[in-house]
Each structure stands twice: as C-alpha cells, then as structure tokens.
C-alpha cells in the first residue's frame, strides 16, 4: 500500500500545468463564452496531444486507458486552469461507448472511440431529456433515451449557464440509433461514474485555483495599514477552505482506485462542496473586485456553482453513498 502519486503521475500534472499556464487559458475561456471556439479548440488539440482524452479509452480503441488515477491528475489541472468545453462529457461518452463494447456492442466503440482518444472529435452527452454541455461545439452528440442510445443530428436553442463558458442545449429527438437494450443502461451507469469522477477532479482544481488566487490577493491588499491576510477572521476562512479541499483530495484518489459508484459519489459531493465553499470565501475576501466579470476570479466562481449540480446533485450523491452501505441492512 502506497497511497501517493508516483513520480510519473506528478510529472504528468506538472507538464499539463506548465502547458496550460503558458496557453493564456482565461482568454480562451472568455472567447468560448462569446461563441468563438478557435482558442478553445487549439487548447483541446494540445490536451489531446498530451494524452488527456485517451485516458478513458482502452488500447484496443487506440487509447491508453482506462487510467482513472491519471484522469483525476489531469482533470484537477483542467479545473485549476478553467479549461472550457465538454471535457467531462467527452470522458463520459468514451466510458459509455467502451461499456457498450464490453457488453458485446463493439460497433459504436470501434467507429467513434479512436477519434475521441486522438482529440479529432469532441463528444457531449445528454441523459434522458437533460441538457448536453456545449452541444454546438461537439462533433459527436449522444443522447440516452430509456434503453436507447442515439447519435443526435442536431440540438435545440443554446442557453447560457451561470458559468458563461458552459453552454447548454437539448439534443433533438431521434437521430441514428447506436444501441438499444439493458446493456445500454448498464453502460450508461459506467458513464455516470466516470463523469462524476472527472467532475469531482475538475471541481477540486477549481477550488484550488480559487484558494491560490485568494491567498495571493489577501497577501497584497492592505487595509488599516496591514495586509488583510494578517487578520485572523480572514485566515480562518482560508484555513477552512484549505482543510475542506485537502480532505476531498484523498477521497478522489481513493475513488479512482476503486471506481465503485458509492466511492465516486462520495468524492463528487465532497469535492464540489469544498469548491463551492471556497468560491464563497474567495468572493467574500476579494470584495467588490471579485464581483466583476473583468477579474479572472469570475471564471472559477461560477464554475464552482455549476459543477455542484452537474452529473448528480449533492443530495443524489449522498443517497448513493448510503445506498451502498445500507443495501444489505433491511429495516428490522
């Protein structure tokens, strides 16, 4: 038992961090929010080159996975840098297609997974009448309807999320039927597990970015002649944010190792609650400047809220955790 990242995993995180730091991600996020996808697509290609979208795809479909731990490592960095686009949904789509392949329906997997792994195609996914994220940017738009999986041919009106870089639309009904039957439902459960894991990692990254920026800000901003970060009321809010985020981290890696739905749900609820609490603290300690769209903080503030309910609300996740524990204990 050695519950620590190895050197290779740390180097992977560091290389993504360096690449994204150099890429002026905030500009790409703002362009994405305005519907200009060119900078975001360039970022997507570079992430694909780094292998990020191959992590959930097995080798037989030209991926390198499944590697959930490395996926968490990567998605923490995507969250820290507020990378726009359906990054979680592409992983969920890959898990769904691979899950179908494992259950004997290899056709869609063989056709679609190599493109997802290489980054040439961008996927998004809607479950049973829900929204698909960035459907207008996706080349593969999947829709689950009961026991059926369709590749939709279009989508309805695009609506802005509270996080302006997230754009939501419902797939048009019908389209190409990729698979039908109970195996689709089971594969969709795999997809939700992967989506929750990736969302949890992204949320942890969002929380870490909010904390880092706030710590830097309160170290510089002075009031009453001293840095505001020297006041105990400020320190204690940031200490609580740090503690919440650092206790979400091991749950996340523990979930990546087990990949049980209950462990992933526990990691998801904990990471999004920590990130959301950190967002509240970050805004409070920045004051009015943090409330402006021109301050980069806004890119993470609203994302923390959006991720809280994406791929399972906190209540749904908590219910999943308890279902895993109380299933064999019927009420006496």
């Amino acid at each position: 038992m050695r519950f620590l990242l190895d050197d290779e995993q740390r180097a992977f995180a560091a290389s993504l961090d360096a690449m994204l730091s150099a890429a002026d991600t905030p500009s790409a996020v703002r362009a994405w929010a305005e519907g200009d996808r060119a900078p975001g697509s360039a970022l997507w290609s570079r992430l694909a080159e780094a292998g990020v979208f191959a992590l959930a795809v097995p080798e037989k479909y030209e991926g390198v996975g499944p590697l959930p731990v490395e996926l968490v490592v990567a998605y923490v960095e995507l969250g820290r840098h507020a990378v726009p686009g359906p990054v979680v949904e592409t992983v969920a789509a890959a898990a769904l297609l691979n899950g179908l392949g494992e259950r004997g329906e290899t056709g869609p997997a063989e056709r679609l997974l190599p493109g997802l792994a290489a980054g040439g195609s961008v996927a998004t996914l809607a479950m049973d009448g829900g929204y698909a994220l960035d459907a207008d940017a996706a080349t593969v738009l999947l829709a689950m309807e009961g026991e059926s999986l369709y590749r939709a041919s279009g989508h309805g009106p695009v609506r802005a999320s509270m996080d302006r870089a997230r754009r939501l639309a419902r797939p048009e009904a019908g389209g190409e039927l990729l698979a039908r039957g109970p195996q689709v439902v089971r594969a969709a459960r795999d997809a939700v597990t992967w989506a929750r894991l990736a969302t949890a990692a992204q949320a942890l990254g969002v929380g870490l970015a909010l904390l880092d920026r706030t710590v830097a800000y309160v170290g510089q901003r002075t009031q009453f002649g001293v840095p505001v970060g020297s006041f105990q009321a400020v320190k204690h809010r940031l200490a609580d944010a740090k503690i919440a985020l650092e206790f979400a981290r091991p749950l996340l890696f523990g979930a990546a190792l087990s990949m049980t739905p209950a462990d992933v749900a526990a990691a998801k609820v904990t990471a999004v609650e920590a990130a959301y609490a950190t967002a509240r603290t970050a805004l409070q300690l920045h004051g009015a400047i943090g409330y402006t769209a021109e301050c980069d903080l806004s890119l993470w503030l609203t994302k923390a809220r959006a991720l809280r309910t994406a791929w399972g609300t906190p209540a749904e996740c908590r219910e999943r955790v308890l279902a895993g524990l109380s299933g064999d204990r019927p009420r006496s």
């Binding site: 970060g229 204690h236 200490a239 609580d240 740090k242 091991p250 890696f253 523990g254």
Partner: protein, 381 residues
C-alpha cells in the same frame, strides 16, 4: 497510488482480529473516568500487554511488535471495529513515549516504557496552567536546581486522567528572565504521589473527574527524570505536540467504527423521509472515510521519510469536528432518547465536545494552517 494491503498487512490484521475477537470484554467496562473504571481499564491494559497488543508500534524490547505505521493503522481499525475499551494509558503511550523515543536516554526508556505498556504506571500530561493554555510558552511553574535534581513549584491544570493516574510529565520554567517565553524551559517527569503534590479532581460537563488541577509545592524530581537537555524543553515538547495533533492521538479506526454504528442506527430508527438527517448521516460516513484516506496518504509520506509537519493541524481540526458531527447526528436520530446520559452515544458526545478545545484549540490550528501551509502573514490574533 495503491490501496491494496500486502499479504503481510492482511496477516497482521487477521491476527489482531482473531485476538480481539477472543479477548474483548463482552460487557462494556465502566467509564475510565471513574475510580472503578480506571482500575478495570488497567486490567485490560495488562491483558493487551500480555500478548503484546498494547503498544504494537514499539520495539519488541519494550513490549511492542515493531509494527510499521500501516500495521498500526490496521490494528487501530480492528480495535475500534471490535468495540474494544478506551485506552487508559493513552496519554503516556501517544504523548510521552514518542518523546522518550526521540529525546530520552536508554535508561529512561528501559525504566519508563515497560510499565507504561502494561498499564502498571499510567501517565497524565501536565501542560496547561491557569494562565497558559493555547499560549503554552507563557507558563510560569518553576523548576529550581538543587543537589541531585530539581524542585518544582506552581500549578498545572486540565490534566487529563490525573485524578487516578500515577505519574505526570510537563514543562517547567528553569531559567526565568530570558528574552523569549519558550526559552529556558525544562521537560520533566514527576510522581503524582510525591510529597508536595496535591491533586484536585475537576468534574467534566458530565460530572466525571476526567481531569484535575495539580498544585506543586517544593516537589523534588531527580536528574534522571529530566527529558532532553535542561532549558531545551520547548523543542522536546513540540515534537510531542506534533504527535498529539497528528497521527497518534486520533486514529481513523475510531471514526470508521462510529460511522458504521451510525449507519446501523439510521437503518434501525432513521426516518427515511427526513432528508436533512439522512444527508448528515452520509456526510459523517464520508468524513470518516476521508479521514482514513487522508491518514493513509500521510502515513505513506511518513514511510517515504517525510516527518509530521503542519499538516497535522488540518488533521486536528478535521477529526475534532467530525467527532462532534458523528455524535450529534446519532443523538438527533435517537430523538428524545438521545438526552439520556448513560448511553455510549451520549457519553461519546460529551467527550467529543472537548476535541476543538484541547491539544491546541482549533483557532490555534487554523492560524498554523494559514501561516505555515498557506503562507499568510503573521498578525493580529
């Protein structure tokens, strides 16, 4: 990144589980904060020690099993899952023993550790004073050099288990008037029944004499009971404080076992329509798991050669709040019956309320997290 136990880990855990299954008392012992319970718990310590389960992480020479940190964690998980009694020797085992391993002499280890392992000598900590709590360095009890040893004068307070314990350890000012308060302190062990020591038990919230104040009037301590160099007590004590907040005081096993009991309680009596309460049960369960995995990560770093750093302050805040949340949730599940004083849940609840106060208040821990982990400037408290 790996959570799979090795065959050796599994074998150790299985051996502990088998032993505990055969030895844990079927009827709970009386509270160790009573005279009768204290005596019963000493007997339990002796039983543990007879098969070398009382101090598994110590070297075999002192009654241990040379268990590494992962085995110790496994033992603790099994111990609490088995519902085994609280550890009356905990202050000595988790606070004084690590100090002796780091700073004591071979003679001190040989003399102090074996009877600590068997429960024959139970230790109390004597840190706090009426004017020195979180600001521990402001303590004023004195140690004055005399032939062959030291004379102690002053007052200590909030000394856990001192009402029934045999000996105590703490810091004393041996060189007054130095520029900084943490200079000129000496770390000493003394006998609670020595001439000049008066122990006044203090009732806890539940009335049990769980701690005491100590009045020291010209108490003689021989040179061999000084730990480390005279005047260097602060440095010696700080390694102990790190242990207290960090890994040794609150092992995850305790919270995992409590979370299991909480889920069982929720299954038995929980109102499934009460979503707020259900969410609190889930949060407590998740918190216990988070604490376990956080500890595994810390233990992995420790085995890689990193010491216990300021991360232990995050630990302290987390487990103390988790402990209260676990017990509060259970009391709310029990409804009216939660008020009764003689249940394991209500006793555990009262005990949990002390968590954020002792071992360095949580306010002090948050300052440490902010200043040493986040790099925020020191400033107004």
């Amino acid at each position: 990144m790996d959570l799979t136990p090795s065959p050796a880990d599994e074998a150790f855990r299985a051996e502990a589980r088998t032993w505990l299954g055969a030895h844990v008392p079927t009827v709970p012992l009386p509270s160790l904060e009573t005279e009768e319970g204290f005596a019963a718990h000493r007997v339990w310590e002796a039983e543990l020690a007879a098969d070398r389960w009382s101090v598994v992480s110590w070297p075999a020479a002192y009654g241990g099993r040379d268990a590494d940190l992962m085995h110790w964690l496994a033992f603790e998980e099994e111990y609490h899952a088995a519902g085994a009694p609280g550890r009356v020797g905990q202050n000595g085992i988790s606070l004084l023993a690590p100090t002796l391993f780091d700073h004591g002499t071979a003679e001190q280890r040989a003399r102090v550790l074996p009877p600590m392992a068997t429960g024959e000598v139970v230790w109390a900590q004597a840190w706090s004073e009426p004017e020195a709590g979180s600001d521990l360095a402001s303590l004023s009890s004195r140690a004055v050099r005399v032939a062959g040893g030291w004379r102690l004068n002053g007052q200590k307070t909030w000394s856990s288990r001192a009402a029934f314990a045999d000996r105590a350890f703490g810091l004393f000012r041996s060189q007054p008037g130095l520029p900084k308060p943490h200079q000129g302190l000496t770390y000493l062990m003394f006998d609670l029944r020595a001439p000049g020591v008066t122990v006044r038990p203090i009732g806890r919230l539940d009335g049990k004499p769980a701690f005491a104040e100590l009045f020291l009037d010209d108490v003689f301590v021989p040179d061999e009971d000084v730990i480390g160099e005279p005047g260097q007590g602060w440095r010696v004590a700080m390694s102990t404080a790190g242990n207290e907040r960090g890994l040794t005081l609150r092992s995850p096993g305790r919270f995992l076992a409590a979370a299991d009991r909480l889920v069982a309680l929720w299954c038995d009596v929980g109102d499934r329509a009460d979503r707020a309460l259900r969410d609190r049960v889930a949060n407590a369960v998740i918190g216990a798991r988070a604490y376990q995995l956080f500890t595994y990560a810390g233990a992995s770093r420790f085995l890689d050669g990193e010491g216990v750093g300021p991360e232990s302050s995050m630990n302290k805040v987390f487990w103390s709040e988790l402990d209260i949340a676990l017990h509060e949730t259970a009391l709310d599940l029990l409804g009216e019956g939660g008020e009764l004083a003689d249940t394991a849940w209500s006793e555990g609840y009262v005990f949990s309320l002390a968590g954020p106060i002792y071992a360095g208040t949580n306010e002090i821990q948050r300052d440490i997290v902010a200043e040493r982990l986040l790099g925020l400037p020191k400033g107004r408290r």
